[in-house]
Amino acid sequence: MSTPILQVRDLKVEYTTSAGAAQAVAGVSFDLAPGEFLAIVGESGCGKSTMLFSIAQLLTYPAETVGGSVLFDGEDLTTLSPEDLRQRRWRDISVVMQSAMNALNPTLSIGAQLADACRAHTDWDDKKIAARSAEVLSMVSIDVTHLKSFPFQLSGGMRQRAMIAMALLLEPKLIIMDEPTSALDVVAQRSLMRQVENLRRELGFAVLFVTHDMSVVSHFSDRLAVMYAGEFVELGATREVFDRPRHPYSVGLMDAFPSIVGEARELTGIAGNPPSLIDPPAGCLFAPRCQHATDECREFRPELVTTDGHAVSCHLVNPRRRS
């Protein structure tokens, strides 16, 4: 593997609450290779979006990155000054937000918003800006006439594609996507995913993609991380995680959505709720909901152990070495 473009080490994020600090991201580490597509799935509240925002250094009070490092191209983003960060955002790292409806300015045309980003981050002249804007729009198969359109004149799928066009403007090396498909219909979802995939192949940017619906990314991501209560519980090649999930939580997630193929069968989902992040239990965080939990699970927190490129944090998969 070539040098990773992004190295996240033991990243910790806390939210200040009246009841104490809630640890939303509890020590996550991973590497992202240039051009790689890593998907992160988990239930709402598992800290997946918080982690993305921490990586992009976009957190605001009451959330705060309290530990760990985010090395992007060898530089630690957590220690950069706001001005240095501003230089890197959009040019090197861009973010596609969940709801294009709210992320686009309703009072400006798409073209004006594209130009705005260019002016803030480059010294291009108007001609260059217009040419590049038209180019990125056509990359996401939106007709160039829509440069003059306002967000309300576009459909949901087109708005989300316009967001991706904006993210592509300055040819970033990493695009962070926070549930870009969740407000879309299945058909629009599929064309958006297909588009992201083709653009990635063509332009070679890396993608960090967060979603609660793992079926969306099943055919597109290189690797898949399953996040639970602020930790990665499983990380491996996407097909491998789908075909042979090892962590009981991943197994439960796979079993939680109905399929349109195969035998129609009863599904149960995962009973119970995620643990409190303010005062988390001592052992495995999933133990209270896990059918296979043993005393050991309730007492000792398992660690993420990698075997053959597939990492799992579960005592049942990685028996603890007795000392």
């Binding site: 058909v187 588009q195 099943s218 349109i260 195969g262």
Partner: protein, 322 residues
């Protein structure tokens, strides 16, 4: 089917769009005809803009129909629904965060429904009934849940509460408008199981509105596929899923995200198109511009609905009756 609890015949609902001088008329639903039998879950499937929510809203009496008739429990419905009809055919909304009063305990809303729709109950009976209702949808312990405020419930719990509230008026049919689409995938299945238990244990029918074929397959007995305001295909869930006839249903099947399926080559294109806005439509099949099988005929006249079997209907020229 004469024992249907709901029959909808050639229902149309149009909206005027544009400025006040504009002659634009949006055909949200056009000529929609279907029935719902007792203890049956019928799924209305379509993309956004297909008119599926409009149908539910017309049935709930939120909009009057432009034309067409609705017969519910043997009674022809007028322009608006009476309180009795609203009670027998309540609606569960998509957004569990916007559909419960945030400043009152959840029990309050439930007690109000009971007061309005079940005036024969006294206070003690109402309280017992409220607990029984929330426990029926899997919110345990009921008495405790009723004392909470909406913000103390998770999205899944709120949506379960939505079903409890709908049940309060002893409905025969619940209109469920995308009840799970705002929930996490891992929580959806619990709600879908609640819907199945309402059908099996409470003998309530449900009109389940969704764009997700897989969840429709999981809960529904029959499926109706809508495109741009018209029904394009209807049949039992098995018939539609294992043998989709209309090209639009096939597109939906091919794009359904499913890790158990290999990536379909058919949809290996970047732009699958979007449903049209049906403003002042001319004749012709509305799917024709996106349809791989479209013929000249499809663009000039609207295909009639053809009965393919006792339960299956499809509106497509490319799929001729056997």
């Amino acid at each position: 089917m004469t024992d249907a609890i709901l029959s909808v015949d050639q229902l149309c609902r149009y909206f005027r769009v544009g400025g006040f001088r504009s002659a634009g008329v949006l055909h949200a639903t056009d000529d929609v005809t279907f029935e719902v039998a007792p203890s049956e879950i019928v799924a209305l499937v379509g993309e956004s803009g297909s008119g599926k929510s409009t149908i539910a809203r017309v049935l709930a009496g939120l909009y009057p129909p432009t034309s067409g008739t609705i017969v519910f429990e043997g009674e022809k419905q007028g322009r608006t629904a009476s309180r009795r009809v609203r009670g027998r055919m309540p609606m569960v909304f998509q957004d569990p965060f916007g559909s419960i009063n945030p400043v009152l305990r959840v029990g309050h809303s439930l007690h109000r429904s009971l007061k309005l729709h079940r005036p024969e109950l006294n206070r003690a009976q109402r309280e017992a009934e409220a607990v029984a209702l929330v426990e029926k949808v899997g919110l345990l312990p009921g008495a405790e849940v009723l004392r909470r405020y909406p913000h103390e419930l998770s999205g899944g719990q709120r949506q379960r509460f939505g079903f409890a509230q709908a049940l309060a008026s002893r409905p025969s049919l619940i209109l469920a408008d995308e009840p799970v689409s705002m929930l996490d995938v891992s929580i959806r299945i619990g709600l879908l199981n609640v819907m199945r238990s309402l059908r099996d244990d409470e003998h309530v029918s449900l009109l389940y509105i969704t764009h997700d074929l897989a969840s429709a397959r999981y809960v529904a007995d029959r499926m109706i596929v809508l495109y741009a305001g018209r029904i394009v295909e209807e049949g039992t869930t098995d018939e539609v899923i294992s043998n989709p006839s209309h090209p639009y249903t096939r597109l939906l099947m091919a794009t359904a995200p499913d890790p158990r399926l290999p990536l379909s080559q058919e949809t290996d294109v970047e732009d699958l198109g979007e449903p049209p806005k049906v403003i002042n439509p001319g004749p012709g099949c509305r799917f024709a511009p996106r349809c791989p099988l479209a013929m000249d005929q499809c663009r000039t006249s609207t295909p009639a609905t053809v009965q393919l079997s006792a339960t299956k209907r499809v509106a497509c020229y490319a799929v001729q009756a056997p």
